[in-house]
């Protein structure tokens, strides 16, 4: 457990330092959401209707930024070899790194989303719904992405391969995230139904993503 928290703290600390790339995903998210009203025009009704979807799409894409470095940075400088000689199972290593990565990428996205909702003329309830769904849904995005990151850890320029590999797998999360957020502001489905499905997807992704990434890393070393 000591090793686990030590690894989480180390990764968060590195991300917070200069060159750690902690803020890049968030900045990308801000820019993506900001340019949408410019492209669509000042139609407030339209914006507020598609706002949750835009925030979710932007969050999904922003998650991909920096994900390629999740294991690659440790692979390149030899840290991964040493991490593997620890007493922690490989899946726990992935879990620790995933949690740290989510804390510096996914969590800030969820926190920033309500503010950006202002740009998209979202109702207060919709802002709340987007915040809650992103908070619950971004771990799923991180851990689905972790599998791709583990597979491409030893590839140079693996970032694009990573995006192609994992984006299709993120579609279910996107569907339930957006439908839960949309259900909160009206519609025929109650909020609870898609939201619980999203929670389930997230929990499942954390488990499957950790185990899958561990397998991929074990093979990558060979």
């Amino acid at each position: 457990m000591k090793a686990f928290t030590a690894l989480v703290r180390r990764d968060i600390r590195i991300a917070a330092r200069i060159g750690g790339g902690g803020g890049t995903g968030l900045a990308f998210f801000l820019i993506l959401v900001t340019i949408v009203p410019f492209a669509i025009g000042p139609d407030l009704n339209l914006l507020s209707r598609i706002g949750p979807a835009i925030l979710w799409i932007a969050a999904t894409l922003a998650t991909l930024i920096g994900l390629d470095r999740l294991f690659q940075a440790d692979e390149e400088d030899g840290s991964l070899d040493l991490l593997m000689t620890g007493s922690m199972p490989l899946a726990m290593l992935v879990l620790a790194k995933g949690i740290a990565h989510w804390a510096v990428t996914g969590l800030p996205l969820a926190l920033a989303a309500p503010l950006l909702g202002l740009l998209l003329a979202l109702e207060p309830e919709a802002m709340g719904a987007v915040f809650v769904t992103l908070l619950v849904g971004t771990p799923a995005l991180t851990f689905i992405g972790a599998v791709g990151a583990a597979l491409t850890a030893s590839l140079r320029r693996g970032g694009l391969v990573l995006a192609v590999l994992v984006l299709p797998l993120m579609i279910p999360v996107l569907i339930f995230g957006v439908s839960a957020a949309a259900a909160a502001v009206g519609g025929t489905v109650p909020f609870r139904t898609p939201f619980l499905a999203l929670c389930g997807l997230s929990l499942g992704s954390i488990v499957i993503g950790s185990l899958g990434s561990a397998l991929a890393l074990a093979f990558a070393g060979e």
Binding site: T5, R13, G20, L82, L83, T85
Partner: protein
């Protein structure tokens, strides 16, 4: 603790690197793995560290600790330094102490031993190649593990630091530790040697 390797074979992408390699290492013994470039010295060290799987044969530890996993009992020091440029030596050592299990020297003490106390709070990205290597050595001291796997440990080290390395290895062996080192240079550490042939 004894390290026993029986009829080890290793294949990398279809090419046999070595096979039928049998050796054992008793407490207080050091084994120098020598051989020309590409003979499989680093590969052998990575095999023992559990980072690669042998295609045949087995590596085991005879130990008083039950169900000891070899990988959890080794310190691996490879070609890469495994240092994060953004972190300071003190932060790096504190992390590895927690991660690898500790039981060794304190971080400050270890930095003193490798003569890096004055750079304790300088991000390691600013350090020279030799200083980085010495910081890697300090990592061997903060967590107590019986088997040291050193891949070209003298690389980038100046004469004084090579003396430090010799002394640390001697102390480790005297305390009943085991060392395997892959090397070209004469390290001055009393060893048995295992010579790997050329590309077989």
């Amino acid at each position: 603790m004894r390290l026993i390797a029986e009829r080890l074979a290793c294949e990398r992408s279809g090419r046999t690197v070595f096979r039928d390699l049998t050796f054992s290492l008793a407490p207080g013994e050091a084994l120098a793995v020598t051989g020309p470039n590409g003979a499989g010295k680093s590969t052998l060290l990575r095999l023992v560290a559990g980072l690669l799987r042998p295609s045949a044969g087995a590596i085991s530890l005879e130990d008083d600790v039950t169900d000891a996993v070899v990988a959890e009992r080794v310190h691996y020091m490879g070609h890469k330094d495994a240092l994060k440029p953004a972190l300071t030596p003190l932060e790096i050592l504190a992390f590895w102490t927690d991660y690898l299990g500790g039981g060794g020297l304190g971080c400050d003490e270890a930095l003193d031993v490798v003569d890096l106390a004055h750079t304790a709070d300088l991000p390691s990205g600013y350090m020279s190649a030799g200083q980085r290597r010495r910081l890697s050595l300090a990592r061997l001291l903060v967590a107590r593990r019986p088997l040291w796997l050193l891949d070209e440990p003298t690389n980038a080290l100046d004469a004084g630091s090579q003396d430090t390395l010799r002394r640390l290895c001697a102390e480790h062996l005297a305390a009943g530790g085991l060392i395997m080192l892959a090397t070209h240079a004469e390290t001055g550490i009393p060893t048995r040697s295992l010579r790997l042939g050329g590309a077989a």
